[in-house]
């Protein structure tokens, strides 16, 4: 029951973020980047659901559009990490022992490097921007995927059905594609949802530091940063994007936990 609770709550929170992003494409109450001096710093009201910021921009509209940025960064970072990390891990598992070990040690090196620091370096070299920041986060996440993929692949490769497939005349690449990948997909999905949450958090942190999404594109992290100077007078401006970030991160984490609980017993039973 509790397992399903995690999965359900995670699913609902993630769905909320996705819904906000989708809605923002067709409708927002106001133009999220429209400066409107007379209406600045309005509180919660019927006209402006979450009020307006110091430039008079509608916070609710910014939250809706910011959801896009959040999902966008998650997809880029996780996409890069999964697409590069998974084959790397599977190759390391199938390659001769010394080569596999070498790949994994290099992997450890990258893993030891702080993701945010890498992103700040990328920002300094290539210019601060969402894609640059998330490419860096994605690269820093490759080792997690490579590790998971390798350990899963090692387990699958020692199974009798892989021996049977080899006895059936299947080549190594075919075995990787038909037997290894489908059987480690559960592990990878869980890793993806957890990495997604980390990427969302990283984007918020980087935008807060000024290395992430560039103005005027709405981003929850930058909304937080802009709320700083008014924190004591208008805590609302920090609270709203803060809660939005918390919802997204919690959602993806719970989803990952729930999926792991769902997929793990079956993985254990399979082996």
């Amino acid at each position: 029951m509790r397992r399903n609770g995690n999965l359900l709550l995670g699913g609902v929170l993630v769905a909320l973020v996705v819904l906000a992003a989708l809605v923002s494409f067709v409708w927002t109450p106001y133009d999220p980047v429209q400066v409107n001096a007379p209406d600045r710093l309005v509180g919660f009201s019927g006209e402006h659901l979450f009020g307006t910021d110091k430039f008079g921009r509608d916070v609710f509209s910014q939250i809706l559009v910011g959801a896009r940025t959040t999902l966008y960064v998650g997809v880029i970072a996780v996409g890069i990490a999964a697409v590069l990390g998974t084959p790397l891990g599977v190759l390391a598992a199938m390659a001769p022992r010394w080569l596999g070990e070498f790949v994994m040690r290099v992997n450890d090196l990258v893993l030891a490097f702080p993701a945010l620091l890498l992103a700040i370096m990328f920002g300094a070299v290539f210019g601060a921007d969402t894609v640059t920041a998330m490419t860096a986060i994605g690269i820093a996440t490759i080792p997690s995927f490579a590790r998971i993929a390798r350990s899963g692949a090692l387990q699958v490769l020692s199974s009798e059905y892989v021996l049977a497939a080899r006895a059936g005349g299947r080549s190594r690449t075919q075995i990787a594609a038909r037997h290894v990948l489908p059987n480690i997909s559960g592990l990878l999905i869980v890793q993806a949802s957890v990495s997604f949450a980390i990427a969302v958090l990283a984007e918020a942190a980087l935008s807060f530091l000024g290395f992430g999404t560039r103005p005027p594109t709405p981003s929850w992290g930058r909304m937080l940063q802009e709320s700083q100077e008014l924190l004591t007078v208008h805590a609302r401006l920090a609270l709203v994007p803060g809660i939005a970030i918390a919802v997204a991160v919690l959602g993806f984490n719970l989803l990952g936990d729930g999926l792991r609980d769902r997929l793990d017993p079956r993985l254990a039973a399979r082996v």
Binding site: A167, G168, R170, R178
Partner: protein
């Protein structure tokens, strides 16, 4: 198709093993766990674990297998020679439907091959093509494994204790399925530690003990008048009359 094994050694686990399986012959390889039976079979297919190397000679119709490249071996495996494994619960990919799984040998060798339903009908499993392995019982899974092994009508079938993990009634079904499905000109190397199974399937038998073949001869001779002391102990330990 003849299988000739000469002076086969694998580390010190298999020592100087020589035997021959002629076309259409059914040969049993018996011995206790750890006597090197499975390693012998895996050497024939070139599927030894990476840390083990086989020396000597294994020839399938004159073609040397021990020095053959992985590519040449892949072409033979699942096509000219096939293998049935001991544990049906783990010999099937849990994430692949049965129908797809039985037709794998065709995909590997000669597409399009026969439809899955036909292969499954032949082993008495109609209507299971869309099932996943966990939905089948052990006996049913072993039938699937057998259907895969027989899909390309191999000239040599190696069965590594195919009935050990199954209960007695299912054992009998699988054995009769092996006997009826394997074509008359195909050779069979049947590994087991069950003498009753050997008696019902094999014409000839090889007895393996601590990595060496200690006795060989027709099934009748070996089972009725064993020469080697180990074979005698093996016979004494298994009450043949009771299991028949």
């Amino acid at each position: 198709m003849t299988l000739e094994v000469e002076h086969l050694s694998v580390a010190d686990l298999v020592r100087d093993v020589s035997f021959e399986v002629g076309a259409g012959e059914r040969v049993g390889l018996i011995g206790e766990s750890g006597s090197g039976k499975s390693l012998t079979a895996l050497s024939v297919l070139g599927l030894l674990p990476d840390e083990l190397r086989a020396t000597g000679s294994v020839r399938l119709d004159g073609q040397e297998l021990l020095t053959a490249s992985e590519r040449e071996l892949s072409r033979l495996r699942g096509n000219e020679m096939a293998m049935v494994f001991q544990e049906p619960m783990t010999a099937l990919n849990p994430a692949m439907r049965i129908g797809r799984q039985v037709t794998e040998p065709f995909r590997a060798h000669r597409p399009p091959g026969r439809p899955a339903a036909e292969l499954l009908d032949a082993v008495g499993l109609p209507g299971t093509a869309r099932a996943y392995p966990h939905q089948l019982s052990g006996g049913q899974r072993q039938r699937v494994v057998l259907a895969m092994a027989l899909a390309n009508d191999p000239s040599l079938l190696i069965c590594d204790e195919p009935t050990t993990a199954l209960d007695v009634t299912v054992q009998a079904q699988i054995l009769s399925l092996i006997k009826t499905s394997l074509s008359a000109e195909s050779s069979l190397l049947f590994i087991t530690h069950d003498l009753a199974v050997v008696a019902s399937v094999c014409d000839r038998v090889l007895v393996m003990h601590e990595g060496e073949i200690v006795e060989h001869g027709s099934t009748r001779d070996v089972l009725t008048s064993p020469q080697h002391s180990y074979t005698r102990r093996l016979l004494a330990a298994s009450d043949l009359e009771a299991t028949r």
